[in-house]
Point group: C2
Chain length 358, copies 2
């Protein structure tokens, strides 16, 4: 944190959690006015300094020093909770990376909260900005003391706003913004393990099907595939077997046809979601291929659909994610600030259990 | 209601919602003691009089009259809500009749609640009795003003307890207990429509796969099938094509093999859930049958799995259920007490779209 070069993450948290400062202490808006920049720029200097040009950053830091500004001074530890409620935005089914496993996540949060005498408060919102607005209202009205965010994207508008206002939250997922607490699943390790498994079954042409670049989670799942085929020396055989599109069965069928139509088609496909993997199995059937024997498929998320289709799939330890999130929210001030990257588990079913075709 | 023969449902509700009575007014326990019966028996007389032997009922009614007992005197209308929270027990994924569509239900409740400036409070519980206990605690502590129940079973312990204590709730589902408010989907109409559709495609031997008798929802889905094949004069061809077992893919595969092994196997199967329908499609594949051409299948619930498998399925209007439940919870005292049975919609996909095999 640029305004506090001596402080590590530990210092940052206890600062962020300190009780409200004296009245009339300078605000972020005062800093912005003093430095002649926008509030967003000040927030960037505080939480994502690499995004700000050096001279602007210097100007903001001088203003911070001159005014004696301390960010998030109104933050209070959750231990002083009055509502004992944790806010959570619920989206319609099938959205984002929790599609198919959302119930498990929500139940794990509710169970962990209950163990700590807290309950979940559900709210809806049209988008991320509206979600942050609702969280602020719920916090200020005393309806909820803290929040769980999920589906964190690059340049996500929620963390900087809640950080700035000192509203406690923990995210499921993370981006390159500093200074907030998160728990995530190691997506890179997930697809990497899928490739290792397929290589151990004798596969050499292992394709990847995911969604377009620019999505945090999708990029990590693609990276895990690439890293593992590279480690196995398979880049020459596989680099052309990378297809991207929408996360739908129909899109997956079309992408699978593209792959199967290659002169050297894959004998195995790692899909970034079970939905995509389901589309691959449907395409294989239409192509006259037997999934598991002629074409191996591995999905991601271990949804109920994966079990029904006997799909191998990377299972997120979603119950552990929920427990860690609530534990982090309720941890005492003295605890170190420690983000968690949890390992997923590959569930092997008949879609990838057989040896590779010769 | 036996203790109030002149009162219709309307009277019953406004009575149930009236403000707290004078202190020291008689309790249900007083009535039980006076009549020499258990509290449960008094509750049954009030809410499920048909379950009580006539002489016992008369004794309880005399005690009620002698003591001037008014049930649910502590009930308050939700309009006097302080927490503006609606309690909802969340169960692990895959449980009960909301498996696969639970997210949709919860989102619809949260959205409808938000429109009325209420939020959902999530809690967990090990079983129905523990759920009722938690609801009582949440209500008494002021954390929640009202509750949504679901997966109502015969002899469900929750409605009588909450009625007795005057804790407002609305149920998704219903049993034969009187005096509580519910919204339900017409399960009979759902499987009945599935049969009508299959008959219109030329099918005559239409089987049913469900779970064992004794479950409210399962029995209604079985009844819809039977009623419709009867109406079409198909009982002689179909009566032996009724199989029951656990709601799992594996159980469904085994039940489907039983049906397909009959001397006169079905050309179509109506399944009580999409999970069972998914098992039928897997069994058909192993049996060498092409689902949609050689064997038609219709599931229930229109889960994401149904879409992936291109399964026809009966879709519950779950968003409407959520809206009606919240509207009922928040309806003013002057509104009539009106339970709602909503019509489901058959979604036709390739698993049943072709004409019957000849």
């Amino acid at each position: 944190m640029r305004h506090n070069p001596g402080g590590g993450k530990r210092a940052e948290v206890s600062e962020r959690r300190q009780a409200a400062g004296p009245p009339n202490s300078p605000t972020l808006a005062d800093v912005a006015r003093e430095a002649g920049v926008s509030r967003q720029t000040v927030s960037n200097v505080l939480h994502a300094a690499h995004k700000v040009k050096p001279d602007t950053r210097q100007r903001v830091e001088q203003a911070i020093a001159a005014l004696g500004y301390h960010p998030n001074r109104s933050a209070q530890a959750l231990q002083s909770s009055t509502s004992r409620m944790i806010g959570y935005r619920i989206e319609p089914q099938g959205s984002g990376t929790l599609a198919g496993i959302h119930d498990r996540f929500l139940h794990s949060l509710a169970a962990a909260g209950r163990a700590a005498d807290h309950h979940m408060l559900l709210y809806t919102a049209a988008d991320h900005v509206a979600e942050a607005d609702s969280a602020i209202r719920l916090f200020r009205s005393g309806a909820a003391d803290a929040f769980v965010l999920y589906d964190i994207i690059a340049d996500d508008p929620r963390p900087p706003v809640l950080l700035e206002l000192g509203i406690p939250f923990v995210a499921f997922g993370h981006n390159d913004l500093d200074g907030y607490r998160w728990v995530d699943v190691d997506n890179v390790a997930g697809t990497s393990a899928a490739v290792d498994h397929l290589v151990s079954r004798g596969h050499r042409r292992i394709g990847f099907m995911g969604w377009p670049a620019g999505d945090n989670v999708g990029d990590r799942r693609a990276h895990g595939w690439r890293r593992s085929i590279e480690r196995h020396g398979l880049i020459p055989l596989c680099h052309a077997l990378d297809v991207r599109g929408a996360d739908s069965v129909q899109a997956a069928v079309e992408m699978a046809f593209l792959l199967l139509d290659r002169p050297e088609p894959p004998t195995a496909i790692v899909a970034a979601t079970d939905t995509l993997a389901a589309g691959v199995t449907r395409a294989a059937l239409r192509w006259g291929l037997d999934v598991g024997r002629d074409l191996a498929v591995v999905g991601f998320d271990d949804t109920p659909t994966a079990a029904v289709l006997e799909l191998s799939s990377v299972r997120q330890p979603i119950e552990d994610v929920g427990r860690h999130i609530v534990a982090t929210l309720l941890a005492p001030d003295t605890e170190p600030f420690r983000n968690q990257l949890l390992a997923p588990q590959l569930i092997i079913r008949s879609s990838s259990a057989s040896p590779a075709p010769r």
